[in-house]
């Protein structure tokens, strides 16, 4: 890509590249993003993470005063590009970095910032999310988990669901209703709940949910008199909806300029499959492959467009990322999984011992969740039509 990003960005790219040249060793290059790493993988991941921490390459998008580097969108893109080029993962602090931190920065008190932010950066605190409930999915504001204030504590009771990353978490950022008489969006509070207190259970119980893939990547969570200090309420009691919406704003968007890299790798694996199964000369298969490549390349083009806008000092339009991007890639990859299953033919019918899936079966099944989590494809289309196209909201039944 030939976008001139100016001398300051070029210097930053040099700095990152030099650091990576000096530090990205074989172990770091062998690291893969595992949903559920083995202890050895986790240890290697931590060693690499510690190096990044030392070099201040963690939580880089946060402002410098809160321990980040205050990177601009362009610099973040450059950082991602350089890490991708070096073949090493950019260790993040997960939802602590992308969701909780930005919420605290936007809505927390100085004391809350000083308490919680360094622990996210250091990796001492790992967060899981407690938003969705069995009866509050897309309609999140109808959530029923109760939070009762007693003295200087909030006592939380209720049930959450789709808690991903629960096995690694020591904290949960949770939405609960602290004022049952207020209108749905008003009576909600955003509470940071420790999973354990002084090594003892704090009324947070996870029960793994087996997914259609046969694996259990998330859990349902039962909160029974789970306690958090009032200090852990971000943005004040009853203000949780606003705090939560900041986090959702940060969850969407992300790494638009490097996103295509993994999809491109996946595409060439699919081509390999078409060759192995002797279907590469079938015009129908070639049409599907060209269709798939087009979508990957269009993601790359869209990322470049975003970067050009940033380089020109413009605020990218909402249509360049967020919901539009989510709909595009999630529906693309779902279709890719279907194409791969068809290419495998009869081999797609069988699984290994313990319901072990092959790569494409896994893609085929996993991609069904991508159009659901983080706002379903339908919710994304509502957002697109209302916020980008300015169309009217669906009237709410009184």
């Amino acid at each position: 890509m030939s976008i001139d990003l100016g001398p300051r960005t070029a210097a930053f790219r040099d700095e990152v590249r030099q650091w990576l040249d000096a530090n990205a060793d074989d172990e770091a290059r062998s690291l893969r993003e595992e949903r559920r790493p083995s202890p050895e993988q986790a240890a290697a991941h931590k060693r690499w993470g510690d190096r990044l921490l030392e070099a201040k390459l963690i939580c880089v998008a946060w402002p410098e005063e809160f321990g980040g580097r205050g990177l601009t969108g362009i610099e973040l893109a450059v950082l991602n590009e350089e890490f991708a080029r070096a073949g090493v993962p950019r260790v993040t602090r997960g939802m602590g970095e992308s969701l909780v931190g930005p919420s605290i920065i936007a809505h927390g008190t100085d004391e809350q910032k000083a308490t919680f932010l360094p622990r996210i950066i250091s990796g001492d605190d790992t967060y899981c999310q407690g938003f969705s409930e069995p009866n509050a999915g897309s309609d999140l504001a109808s959530l029923r988990t109760r939070g009762v204030v007693e003295n200087d504590e909030v006592i939380v009771n209720g049930q959450k669901v789709w808690t991903s990353g629960y096995w690694a978490a020591n904290m949960m950022f949770c939405l609960c209703r602290t004022d049952p008489d207020a209108p749905p969006h008003r009576g909600i509070s955003y509470v940071l709940i420790p999973i354990k207190v002084d090594g003892r259970p704090n009324g947070v119980e996870f029960r793994p949910i087996k997914q259609i893939t046969g694996q259990a990547h998330f859990a349902e969570t039962f909160l029974t008199d789970a306690r958090a200090p009032l200090f852990n309420v971000i943005g004040g009691l009853g203000n949780g909806w606003r705090v939560a919406m900041t986090t959702l704003g940060n969850e969407r968007g992300g790494n638009a300029t490097t996103q295509y890299v993994a999809f491109e790798r996946e595409f060439w694996s699919l081509v390999e499959l078409a060759r192995e199964t002797g279907q590469i000369d079938d015009p129908r298969v070639r049409d599907q492959l060209a269709w798939a490549y087009s979508h990957v390349e269009l993601m790359r083009c869209q990322g470049e467009r975003l970067l050009r806008a940033l380089a020109a000092g413009k605020t990218p339009s909402g249509a360049m990322g967020g919901s539009v991007n989510k709909v595009f890639w999630s529906e693309y990859q779902r279709r890719l999984g279907e194409i791969a299953m068809n290419l495998q033919g009869a081999a797609s019918l069988l699984v290994g011992p313990d319901y072990k899936l092959n790569r494409w079966q896994s893609t085929f099944l996993t991609t069904r969740s991508h159009t659901i989590w983080g706002g379903t494809a339908e919710i994304q289309r509502n957002i697109i039509s209302e916020r980008i196209l300015g169309m009217p909201r669906e009237p709410v039944r009184k």
């Binding site: 078409a274 049409d287 490549y293 390349e297 869209q302 509502n382 980008i388 169309m391």
Partner: protein
């Protein structure tokens, strides 16, 4: 690419939009195409004089603006949005890149200033009666009598062929296939307007019978020149289709927000909102692709062979979808001749098929990826 050029391109877009809204609104376009009036040469000249759209990719010493193809793409996007019935695609999207690829400085210094000034309308003629876009049905042959070349035969589906002052005709000769410049009013030429489903796209059949042609480029180089020209045409037609798709989306949203049924705007129903949202997703993807492809024509020639067929295919399908949904969202009124929706719908299908449909271009993409 620099920061200033992004700003300059947005200024170009704004002035073009203002120009077209003022000089060629849809009401005027409709009148012109329905009465099959001849091409509005005055508008063409004013477009060159006021905006300089025809000379954007022509070097300054040759009377152009010395900008680039990214700027040309914006011009096509805007004329596509407005359905402007001017020969921009033929002249700047086909003939100009052919003349540049022919790499003949005498020809360029003679013809390019005339294109930039709006004096010359040009096109390329290579497809035969069978409509095969690879030109396999082209029957024109050139005979060299020692002094000059004379062309005989027929080409069809010539974009703006009835209005062009200059036709770049591909003809078979002893060297294979060569490109010849033929005057639109030459002795022995017969131009027949083809009746088009898409009222806003003019196509013509050209019969030549011993017509004098001037060879452009090396003997036998027509295939190379044509393939360079078509690469540009794919990207610029995609830009034109992007503009059309955006126009359809805007029409759909405006109508859905104002039309009321069951006591509320139909735009508040998810069934309608989601159609518009999906169209936006595809329009935005097409926009990213078109911008990248147009910039690649200027700066990254290696990427063109991938991006050009890709955007032609994608923008074609996106435009067609947008135009179809636009009729659907408008309901009965959208099915009437009186409404503008059908002009876009027909333009969308004709553009989707022009130069080869999406499947044709995906097949080309698969080949170019080495699959």
């Amino acid at each position: 690419m620099t920061t200033t050029s992004l700003g300059a391109r947005e200024e170009l877009r704004a002035s073009l939009r203002e120009f077209l809204t003022d000089k060629a609104p849809l009401s005027v376009v409709r009148q012109q195409v329905e009465l099959t009036q001849p091409l509005d040469r005055k508008l063409w000249e004013t477009l060159a004089g006021d905006i300089g759209a025809q000379g954007l990719a022509i070097a300054e010493p040759l009377g152009g603006a010395g900008a680039g193809w990214a700027e040309v793409a914006i011009a096509l996007e805007e004329t596509g949005r407005a359905l402007t019935p001017l020969p921009l695609l033929a002249t700047v999207g086909l003939a100009l890149p052919a003349l540049l690829a022919a790499d003949d400085s005498d020809v360029q210094s003679e013809l390019l200033p005339r294109i930039a000034s709006g004096d010359l309308i040009a096109t390329v003629a290579w497809v035969g009666d069978d409509g095969a876009w690879d030109g396999s049905g082209n029957t024109v042959r050139a005979h060299d009598d020692g002094r000059e070349s004379r062309l005989s035969g027929r080409v069809s589906y010539v974009i703006d062929g009835d209005a062009a002052d200059l036709l770049l005709v591909v003809a078979a000769d002893d060297n294979g296939r060569s490109l010849f410049a033929v005057a639109g009013d030459a002795d022995g030429i017969t131009r027949t307007t083809m009746p088009t489903l898409d009222l806003t796209r003019r196509l013509a059949t050209i019969d030549v019978d011993g017509v004098i042609g001037r060879r452009i480029g090396r003997p036998g180089s027509a295939d190379d020149i044509l393939s360079a020209a078509l690469e540009h045409a794919r990207v610029l037609l995609a830009a034109e289709m992007l503009g059309g798709a955006q126009a359809c989306l805007d029409m759909s949203v405006n109508y859905a927000n104002s039309r009321e049924q069951f006591g509320r705007p139909i735009g508040s129903f998810q069934a309608v909102k989601h159609k518009c949202a999906e169209t936006l997703v595809q329009v935005e993807a097409a926009r990213g692709g078109v911008e990248a492809a147009a910039l690649a024509l200027d700066e990254e020639p290696d990427r063109v062979k991938i991006l050009a067929p890709m955007v032609k295919a994608y923008a074609g399908e996106a435009f067609f979808r947008a135009a179809g949904e636009n009729i659907q969202i408008h309901g009965g009124i959208g099915f009437t001749w009186e409404h503008d929706a059908h002009l876009y719908f027909k333009r969308a299908k004709s553009s989707d098929l022009l130069l080869g449909d999406a499947a044709y271009h995906r097949a080309a993409l698969a080949d170019r990826l080495g699959l």
